[in-house]
Structures are given as structure tokens and as C-alpha cells.
Amino acid sequence: MSSPAATAACPECDGAVVFGRSPMAGEVVRCTDCSAELEVISREPLTLELAPEVEEDWGE
């Protein structure tokens, strides 16, 4: 098994959020432990925050 590109703690449940690829600023990921949707706020240091609620004008 390949080693993860990066790991950070979920701000909601403190579970490990594992990135298979190098994280990108603004990337939205889901915590596999608590299912919270998270956003990468910074890459160095790798910082996650809860992603904002879906806004009215989001999406196609």
C-alpha cells in the first residue's frame, strides 16, 4: 500500500484525515470517521476547517 501524501486531524472529531494526493488550498474533503465536510485552509501547515454550508448560488 502506498503511503499517504498527507494527514491532518479532523476539526470535528479529531480523527485522521488522510490525503492520497498532495492537498490543495480550497480542496473539499470528507472525514471518513465522522463524515464532516472539510476544507483545506492552508497547506503548510496543513489546516482543515469545517466546510461552509451549501450556499444558495452553489452548483449547476
Binding site: G26, E39, E56, W58, E60
Partner: protein
């Protein structure tokens, strides 16, 4: 080659697009629109881009950023006029009607009594839609006069001004599914069906997707629909009307495709990247919506 990928957040779609560009030896600059300040009249570094690809999750940010870049002379996918057309259901209807593309019957009114008369003329059930909006939000199927009166009153009383455009569409008695066709560079490249027990079949609302072969009639319809809005890369929603055949319900200018790649078996982001590179290399110009073209016979 310099390509700007306009984003507000990076979803799976943006990741896949970036990987597709990189596999072709091009490394787009990812630009977070939340961090930008644009100066109208001063293009600055923006004219250094050969192409800007709008992938903003926020429709508002994407639409307005592309307006500015278009004015700076930067070729955008999709172009500003196409985004303006696709993001407004009334403009889409006007473009489709002008181009002679079959679409559900629509009436537009601005007053409670006029809107009620429009609903009654179309017959029940009818669908009231906001002209702006996404992911199937705030669609209302009204089955009788009581429901129509209530929804119209709520829109006029509680809705902001954009909701005072009362857009009424005939309800198409389709099978419990609709069809989505992905069009890249004017050509339909993939199609899926979305099935749901609910009359709103968007996958964002829980619709289940399956692959579908594109027949010649569907392909022709989609080519004409994409051309009518001047779109480079659009996802077209079709309804199967038992009486009139395939109808174009709407076109999406910032298509979501993550769940359609495996379903359709088509590398949609790869085809989008290929097309974007062709736009730059071959100088493919932006299309013009039917609503912006000179009418036949005009001087």
C-alpha cells in the same frame, strides 16, 4: 500555454480537470476567486492568460469574474454570454425558442392574477421555477388552483425581486427519469439517465444515474441547443415528452461530472481538457447566444 482555472473550492471535478491538463503537459494556474480583486479597465496580469476555465462552485462569483475577463479580452470557457444565458432560465428559454429547439412550453408573468391565468392556460399540473437557481432548488409543481395561488403569493410576498419573475412551465409527463447529455466543443460526448421516484430527478436531489447511448436525433438536438446558448462545454437536461419527443429542459454551464464518468464510460474531464487546448491552439472563437444574434433580415 497559460490557462487559468477559476475556482472557489476544489471539488473532485476540479481535481480531475487539473490531472487531465497535467497529463497533457499543461499546468493551469489555479485561481481562487475569493482572493482576487479585479480592477475594471485595468486587465493587468489577466491578459497573460490564453484561456480561463470557469469552475467556480459559486455561480455568482464565476459569472461575474468571467464577465470581467471577457471584457479584458481573455477567452473564457464558457464565455460570459453563454453563462448569462444558461444561468437564467428565461434567457435559456428565449435562446432555445429563437433557435427553434424544442423545449417545454413556458409563460412569464409579473403579477399574481396574470401568473394564475398563465398556469390555468398551461393546465395542471404546472411547474413554477425561479429563473435563477441551481440543483433543482425551489421548483414547485402545482396540481390545482389552490396550490398555484399559494405558491405565487409566497413568491411575491416572501421572495426577493428575482423571484417576482413568475416563470411557469408546462409539466411534462415524462417517465420517472430525465436525460443528461454532456456536450464538449459543440459535440455530445456522453449521456446518462437520472431516475427518481420524485419528479425532480437531479442527482443532487438523489436521482440514480445509468449510462445511455446517444442516438442521431438526440445528438442533433444537443448540438443545436448548445449552439443556441453559445456554450463550449455544457450539460443539457432533456425530458422525454410522450407527445413531442425529446425536449430541452435546461443547459448547465458549470457541469458536474464526477458521478457520470464511470456511469457513461467516457473520460469527460479528458475531453474537456482536449477541447480547451484546441480553443487556444486553433483560436476557436466564443459562440454567440441566439438572443444576441441579429434577427434574420436585419440590416
Amino acid at each position: 500555454m497559460r490557462i487559468a482555472l477559476l475556482t472557489t473550492r476544489i471539488r473532485t471535478e476540479e481535481r480531475l480537470l487539473l490531472e487531465s491538463f497535467e497529463a497533457r503537459g499543461v499546468h493551469p494556474e489555479v485561481i481562487d476567486l475569493r482572493a482576487q480583486v479585479f480592477v475594471p479597465g485595468s486587465p493587468g496580469r489577466w491578459t497573460g492568460f490564453d484561456l480561463a476555465v470557469d469552475r467556480s462552485v459559486s455561480a455568482t462569483a464565476g459569472q461575474n469574474a468571467v464577465r470581467i475577463l471577457d471584457a479584458f479580452g481573455v477567452r473564457c470557457v464558457n464565455p460570459s454570454a453563454a453563462i448569462d444565458t444558461c444561468s437564467d432560465k428565461l434567457r435559456t428559454t428565449l435562446a432555445l425558442e429563437l433557435a427553434g429547439v424544442p423545449t417545454p412550453r413556458v409563460r412569464v408573468a409579473f403579477d399574481q392574477e396574470s401568473a394564475l391565468a398563465a398556469v390555468e392556460e398551461l393546465g395542471y399540473p404546472a411547474v413554477l421555477k425561479p429563473t435563477i437557481g441551481s440543483w433543482g432548488r425551489l421548483l414547485a409543481r402545482v396540481n390545482d388552483r389552490d396550490a398555484a395561488e399559494a405558491v405565487i403569493e409566497h413568491k411575491l410576498t416572501l421572495g426577493s425581486f428575482p423571484h417576482h419573475v413568475l416563470y411557469v412551465q408546462e409539466y411534462v409527463e415524462k417517465p420517472m427519469r430525465d436525460i443528461r447529455v454532456f456536450v464538449v466543443g459543440g459535440e455530445p460526448v456522453a449521456a446518462i439517465t437520472r431516475e427518481s421516484q420524485h419528479w425532480v430527478t437531479n442527482t443532487a436531489r438523489g436521482g440514480r444515474a445509468s449510462g445511455l447511448a446517444i442516438g442521431p436525433e438526440m445528438a442533433d438536438l444537443c448540438r443545436r441547443a448548445a449552439a443556441s446558448v453559445g456554450g463550449d462545454v455544457v450539460a443539457i437536461d432533456l425530458l422525454e415528452c410522450p407527445r413531442r419527443g425529446l425536449l430541452v429542459n435546461e443547459l448547465n454551464h458549470s457541469m458536474e461530472f464526477r458521478n457520470s464518468i464511470e456511469t457513461s464510460g467516457v473520460d469527460i474531464p479528458g475531453l474537456v481538457a482536449d477541447y480547451c487546448l484546441r480553443v487556444v491552439r486553433e483560436g476557436i472563437p466564443a459562440g454567440t447566444p441566439a438572443t444576441s444574434r441579429a434577427p434574420a433580415g436585419a440590416a
